[in-house]
Amino acid sequence: MSDCGCAGDEARSVERVKVVANERLAAGIGLLTLHAPRIGARVAPGQFVHLRITRDADFILRRPFSVHGTTRDGIRILYQVLGRGTRALAAKRPGDEMDALGPLGKGFRIPEGVAHALLVGGGLGVAPLALLAEVLAERGVAVTAALGAPTADRLLALDVLEVSARQVLLATDDGSRGERGFVTMLVEGALAASAPDVAYVCGPAAMQRIVAAQCAAAGVPCQLSLERLMACGVGACLSCVVETASGLKRACCDGPVFDAEEVRWDVAQPGLRH
């Protein structure tokens, strides 16, 4: 526990970033494009930035966001309005400045020799998977993406995945697009059809737990991007701990990506509360 994953990580810094665009994609869902050349050049899939959204004294903590994509001179963040921080983020206009601490955390690992990867996203969980899909495609890895959402308009990042993935499988709770039901159904089929070399998962805790079990049963190594409330983002405050087979680890710097087999589901693992 004392060995910090991010201690002395020279890639991270506090960067003054500027809003380039802030688009509303669906009710309460936004896509933020930031001018952030330093972070954009250093970020790896699965890493996050810790944004100081406001300097008002009313709410003080930074908010962590997965990096959804990179641009020539910055990054994209996909967000859902859930509380004060994301409400303030939704109100940002082009030209507004913030500061971003990052890139932070250990992202997705791409083992040697991976030829086929399954990406599983539930709702906003697609946020870190889009950048991962792009990087995998660049490396010649065949990507199958399985996405689930409540309704068709909440199936996000399809434009990115349609370019990077060989196959995109969709499910919605109401059947408005793709299969009717949960993404876990798609995973069952995808694992049976052609065993991927690795699975990458992000989404609600309940869904992650099921997908982790499905992958374990199929003998497919699985990596989960976990979400926790955090204050410092760099491993100091111990707010964001995750119960693992080797004790408590920190989502911010030992993760946020963990091997599924390492995560203990037999103890309460509260995810982010809204």
Partner: protein
Amino acid sequence: MSPNPGSGTEPDLSVNLGRLELRNPVMTAAGTFASGREYAGLVDIPRLGALVTKGVSLEPWPGNPSPRIAETASGMLNSIGLQNPGLDAFIEHDLTWLSEQDVPVIVNVHGHSAEEFARICERLEDVSCVSGFELNVSCPNVDEGGMAFGTSCEAVAAVTAAARRATRKLLMVKLSPNVTDIAKIARAAEAAGADAVSLVNTLLGMAIDADTFRPKLGRVLGGLSGPAIKPIALRMVWQVSAAVSVPVVGMGGIMTAEDAVEFMLAGASAVAVGTATFVDPAAATHIIDGLAEFCRRRGVERVSQLTGALEA
């Protein structure tokens, strides 16, 4: 103190904490900075007045169930619960690293009993990079020790006296604000041999989620920090500095150099920065810069002149 604007010379930021001279009055608050390594590269650590470590106990402590934090208006609650890998791991991993940093280290010490506090001080007495100890008798997030000691004059005196017998280094006692008369507790620490008192630790608080009908913290109760508690902390620093003759280290919601000045005017000889570091990793060094700037602007030659300079 009569301000003398525009004197132009570099202000002297050094302050004295009894057995320890600090190059400036700004230290990290225990539990917000780990042992510093996590912030390496983000903060110029040798510039700190002192680095106060996260609480260290004799044996490893697992800490509390999640969620461990909740944001509140102008502040945050935490219920981390002193999770730490224990003294041996601290010595092996953190002290090895700290000994290579050019910064005074104050080890925050936590125990279940007065004897445990003393044993930790004893083990670290000959470690040259350790400049002093801060006895944590004020953590609100543990069932044994912590605040249970810090709310009783007798227990504070017993813990302080036991630690005093174990060390010749700076001995500071961190006080809980969750008491009726903090000055009385401070006097008990002073009488038992404390070289300084630091205050305040967090205020016991609670946050509830109206949507789920549940407490927001896994432990239900937690400690409130941040700007929300600053007026209370200032009041207590003012009361305690009037009651004791040892130096007072003030903390509680310090976000800016101006906040630090206010604590010094209330009677603090030095200050600690905690929650602000979560917002801005370099908050402590920004506050040091701001203090120097304040002194230059107001013609204050020595920052220590601000201590207790509150005018009626």
